[in-house]
């Protein structure tokens, strides 16, 4: 169990995907790599079939929005877990908001189906190859992506509302 640690994992990944890994961090002990978005499927397949690492569980998938990060406004974050070696990995893929496309990973993990739909629903990230990419938690008629930062929650100090309708 001790032979597989973050250093080993990183070495294996860098041997295979040297050019696609843009940055490496280790916040709070979890190896975090920034990956070229076109390489997500090959990398996940590589980790899934790796004889030692056996990273075969998708813990989490979610989106993020960084409006000031030009050209890399949207990102998808994957959390993977290897049960046999008990090691976790975080993968981040960035994409411009004008072309928010990334390959769907439903062919590797069925669990990503709804999580990708949720990410599409809230951030408008399009997962290419997803079998049923439509909104999941919001109504189908919604024409914007509510978790993006340009939609703030109502400001608590606003005064333009008629108070009598809100019991204030």
């Amino acid at each position: 169990m001790n032979d597989v640690n973050n250093a080993y994992l990183l070495k294996e990944l860098q041997e295979e995907f040297m050019d696609a890994i843009h940055s490496v961090e280790e916040p709070y002990g979890m190896l975090t790599i920034e990956l070229d978005r076109v390489q997500i499927l090959p990398l996940l397949n590589f980790l899934y079939q790796h004889p030692v690492i056996q990273m075969q569980f998708l813990t989490d998938l979610c989106g993020l929005h960084f409006p000031d990060n030009k050209g890399k406004e949207l990102s998808v974050v994957y959390h993977l877990h290897s049960f046999t070696k008990n090691i976790r990995l975080r993968i981040k893929c960035y994409m411009p908001i004008e072309a928010p496309q990334i390959n769907s990973i439903t062919s590797v993990y069925e669990a990503s189906n709804w999580q990708e739909r949720e990410t599409y629903d809230f951030f408008g990230i399009e997962f290419v190859g997803h079998p049923n990419l439509k909104r999941i938690l919001n109504v189908d008629e919604m024409d914007y992506f509510p978790m993006r930062k340009e939609y703030p929650l109502e400001d608590q100090t606003r005064t333009d509302k008629d108070d009598k309708y809100f019991g204030r």
């Binding site: 916040p27 709070y28 979890m30 975090t32 075969q56 569980f57 998708l58 813990t59 989490d60 979610c62 993020l64 929005h65 974050v77 959390h79 049960f83 008990n86 976790r88 975080r90 993990y109 069925e110 669990a111 189906n113 709804w114 999580q115 949720e118 809230f122 999941i136 938690l137 919001n138 109504v139 509510p146 978790m147 703030p152 929650l153």
Partner: protein, 398 residues
């Protein structure tokens, strides 16, 4: 015109059946549009989002301590576990270590919550196969657990228990007494409940082999918790990534074999025994010491100090206004919730609120496996399968 009806080809017609959104047998707001061939389910389309409350969006606008009540409403059958998971996530971000006493107190609360969660789930499986007695009987014992929560934090269902940096108050003598009473009397009740269902011929006929899933498929679908362990894989966050001093305790992870409804039921039954064991150990070895850590930026000072000391007043003001400084960083922390791995992915930009908070909600992820599990079975089996998966609407929709 009248003759047309005889030419109608009944055999090729599937029936569409709307199960839900509000249906007494689904215990929550789920909609399944079933395609039925007579009594057999051919396919189902799930819809969800009926009680979506945009917690992740709200969390980006609230200071950290105001997010705890949001987590209450995820899996509301075991909200203390969600609360503790959130506290631990923030503590991990801040890099604060808890005193042992806090860890043990939290474990007692979390395991009580787990018992309450499993009691509901298992007794509801009974209800769905027609055994109401066990449900009404063990529900009193869930109430006793809620009495303990009430003694600790003043609330019963949506508890908002504990604080970032510890517990809000120490266990009172009355609380310790209630926990002891519960530990003493609960085994008898659980044994009786076990006798009602565990080897009951009707119950077994209705659950054995129903809604089965293999380990490989379960992993692909991201199942965790009792549902995954029922398939035979012993993945438990408490053991794999121990948090809150769980490695001090001696307990077993029960696993099933077939991954069917009966195994899920049995795994939960055994887990209640294990939780009972953990609480007993924790209460016996409850360490002396403080019930909070030294994090003045987050842990509210006692009221008498706030009224009499300048420094405490300043901290109080800063905490309530959400002006405490947090480090920039991202952290993932998970706890073993009632339904599986409950994860919190928190991205902080150093501001007063989270830049992004994502809940890994086990129900949301494993509910995807439901169509595969019920295909080819009857409608009544589908109902039992759903209740044995313990899909909680609040956790599904966040």
């Amino acid at each position: 015109m009248e003759n047309n009806i005889t030419e109608f080809d009944y055999k090729s017609e599937y029936t569409t059946l709307n199960l839900g959104p509000t249906h007494p047998a689904t215990h929550g707001i789920f909609q399944n549009i079933l395609t039925m061939d007579g009594e057999i389910i051919v396919d189902t389309e799930q819809t969800c989002g009926y009680i979506h409350r945009a917690f992740e969006k709200i969390a980006e606008h609230r200071p950290f301590y105001q997010i705890t009540p949001l987590t209450d409403r995820l899996n509301y059958c075991s909200s203390p576990i969600n609360n503790m998971g959130w506290h631990m996530t923030v503590e991990k971000l801040l890099g604060v270590d808890m005193p042992k006493r806090v860890d043990y107190m939290r474990i007692i609360i979390m395991e009580l919550a787990r018992i309450a969660d499993h009691l509901i789930c298992n007794s509801v499986i009974g209800v769905d196969v027609g055994a109401l007695t066990g449900f009404t009987y063990v529900f009193q014992w869930r109430e006793k657990i809620y009495d303990i929560f009430e003694e600790v934090c003043g609330a019963r269902l949506t508890t908002n228990i504990g604080r970032i940096g510890g517990m809000e108050r120490d266990f009172s003598p009355a609380c310790i007494k209630k926990i002891r009473e519960f530990l003493q009397e609960f085994p008898k009740i659980l044994r009786e409940f076990t006798k009602l269902l565990e080897r009951n011929r009707i119950f077994m006929d209705r659950t054995v082999g129903v809604g089965a899933i293999s380990t490989e498929r379960a992993l692909k679908y991201g199942l965790t918790g009792p549902n995954l362990r029922a398939t035979g894989l012993d993945y438990d966050v408490r053991v794999m990534s121990p948090y809150s001093s769980y490695n001090d305790f001696d307990f077993v992870i029960p696993v099933g074999i077939n991954g069917d409804t009966y195994d899920r039921f049995m795994v939960r039954q055994q887990e209640m025994w294990e939780s009972h064991k953990i609480i007993t150990q924790a209460l016996e070895n409850l360490p002396e010491g403080k019930f909070f850590a030294e994090v003045p930026e987050f842990y509210l000072p006692p009221k008498e100090e706030v009224y009499n000391k300048m420094e405490a007043l300043i901290w109080h003001f800063k905490i309530v206004m959400g002006e405490a400084d947090v480090p920039v960083g991202e952290v993932y922390h998970s706890v073993e919730g009632g339904n599986g791995e409950l994860g919190f992915y928190l991205v902080s930009d150093g501001g007063r609120a989270a830049y992004r908070l994502h809940f890994r909600r086990p129900s949301f992820i494993y509910y995807q496996a439901y169509p595969e599990m019920i295909k080819g079975s009857t409608l009544s089996d589908a109902i039992v399968t759903m209740s044995s998966m313990n899909v909680i609407a609040g956790e599904l929709d966040a």
